[in-house]
Amino acid sequence: MKRLSFLTMALVGLVLTGQTATATVRDWQLDTVHSNFYFRISHIYSIVNGQFNDFTGEIKFDPKNLAESRFYFEIKTDSIDTNNAKRDKHLQSGDFFDSGTFPPMIFESVKITDAGNNVYEVLGKFTVKGETYDLTLPLTLAGVKNHPAAQDKEVIGFNGEVTIDRLAYKVGTGKFHEMGLVGKDVEILVTLEALSDK
C-alpha cells in the first residue's frame, strides 16, 4: 500500500514536471506579413531577387529549452514571385520547382543548438520536390520585446542567411547553369517575426 502510494506520487510528480517543462516553451504565431524567405540568384551578369508570398509556420522557442523548441515552415512553391509573371510560371514548371507535382517546400527542425552571440544553428529536414535533405539554418535572435503597436503582444524576431546549391536539391537540371544563364548558388535570407500574447 505504501509502495503503491509512493509509486502513484512519483508518477504524478513525473507528469507535473513534464507539463512544467513543456509549458516553458512558448508558442509564437508567425507574422507572415512581416516574415519572408527571400532569395537571390545570378542571371548572366545581374542578380534576380525573389520571394515566396504564401507560407505558414510554427515557432516554439525558448532559449533556455532548445530541446523542446521547434521551427516548422511550409512554403507554397507556386507563390514564388520574382516580379515577372512569365519567369514565375517557368520557375513553377518542371524545369525548376514543378509546383503542380510538389506544391510545398517544408522545413522542420530536428535539433537547435546555441552557437553563441544569439546565433542558433537550426538543424532540420528540408523537403523539396518530394525528397528530404538535412539542412542547417543559422538563425540570429534579433530580440524579444513588447510589440510597439499591440500592447497585449510580445514580438520575437529572427534573421538568417544561408547559401545553397539549388542543383543539390534538384531545383533545375543544370542545363541553364551550363549555358551560363542562371547561377546554381542561391542566397537565402530568412527573416521572421512572430507574436505571442503576454
Binding site: 507556386d78 509573371a85 512569365k86 514565375d88 510560371k89 517557368h90 513553377q92 514548371s93 518542371g94 524545369d95 514543378d98 509546383s99 503542380g100 507535382t101 542545363k175 541553364f176 544563364l181
Partner: protein, 216 residues
C-alpha cells in the same frame, strides 16, 4: 442566239480575277508576316526553352498568330462588305465563314495546348498576374462555344434570331479580347513593328465593319 462575251465583259472578268488574286495574295502575305513574328521578333520566353519544349512553344505561337489572322478575316467575312460581296458572292463568303470558324476553333485549342505543355499542364497560368493568359482562355472558350453553337444550332434547338444576335455580339467581343490578349501576352508585340502591324490590322477590320454597315 449563242452567248457572246463582249470585250467589256472580258475586261470585267479579268479585273475580277485580278482583284480576287490581290485579296488572296494579300491575305497570304499577312499570314506569312504573322508566322514570321516568332522567328524575327523572338520572345524571351523562347530563349529559356530547349529542344521539344522550344518547338512546342514556337509552334504554339505560330498557330496562335494564324488563328488571330483568320479571326480578323472571319469578321470581314461576316460583315460581307460590298467589295467582298462583288468579288466572291454571298454564298461563298458564308461558306468560308462557316469553315473558317471550325478551323479557328481547332487552331485555338492547338495553340493553347502547345503553349501550356512546355510549362506543364498542372502549371496553368491562373491568377491576377496572368491576366493576359486568362483573357486568352476566355477567348478560347468563347470561340469554341461560337463554333459549336453555330455548327449544331439546329440540333441544340437554338432560335435563329436569338443565336444570330448573340453570335454577332460575341464576334465583336472576340476581336477586342484578341487584340488585348495578343498585345499583352507576348513580348514580341512589345516591339514596334509587330505592335503597329496588329494595331493597323485591328483598325482596318473596325473600319471595314463600319463601312460595310454604311453601304448595306
Amino acid at each position: 442566239m449563242p452567248n457572246v462575251m463582249t470585250s467589256q465583259d472580258k475586261t470585267e472578268r479579268i479585273k475580277l480575277k485580278a482583284y480576287r488574286a490581290l485579296v488572296v495574295g494579300g491575305l497570304l502575305l499577312v499570314i506569312a508576316g504573322a508566322l514570321s513574328i516568332p522567328f524575327v521578333y523572338e520572345s524571351q520566353t523562347l530563349w529559356y526553352k530547349i529542344g521539344l519544349d522550344k518547338t512546342f512553344l514556337r509552334g504554339g505561337q505560330m498557330i496562335g498568330l494564324l488563328a488571330a489572322v483568320l479571326l480578323f478575316v472571319q469578321i470581314l467575312l461576316a460583315a460581307r462588305g460590298k467589295f467582298l460581296k462583288e468579288l466572291f458572292g454571298i454564298a461563298a463568303l458564308m461558306r468560308w465563314h462557316r469553315t473558317n470558324g471550325i478551323v479557328i476553333s481547332f487552331l485555338a485549342v492547338s495553340h493553347a495546348l502547345l503553349i501550356l505543355v512546355p510549362e506543364g499542364i498542372t502549371n496553368l497560368p491562373i491568377g491576377k498576374k496572368y491576366w493576359p493568359e486568362m483573357v486568352g482562355m476566355l477567348l478560347l472558350c468563347i470561340v469554341v462555344a461560337m463554333a459549336v453553337s453555330s455548327h449544331f444550332r439546329e440540333k441544340l434547338r437554338l432560335n435563329y434570331k436569338r443565336w444570330r444576335a448573340i453570335h454577332k455580339l460575341l464576334g465583336y467581343l472576340v476581336i477586342m479580347f484578341l487584340a488585348v490578349h495578343v498585345l499583352f501576352v507576348s513580348e514580341s508585340f512589345e516591339q514596334i513593328v509587330p505592335r503597329a502591324a496588329l494595331l493597323i490590322f485591328f483598325a482596318g477590320v473596325v473600319i471595314s465593319i463600319i463601312l460595310s454597315k454604311k453601304t448595306k
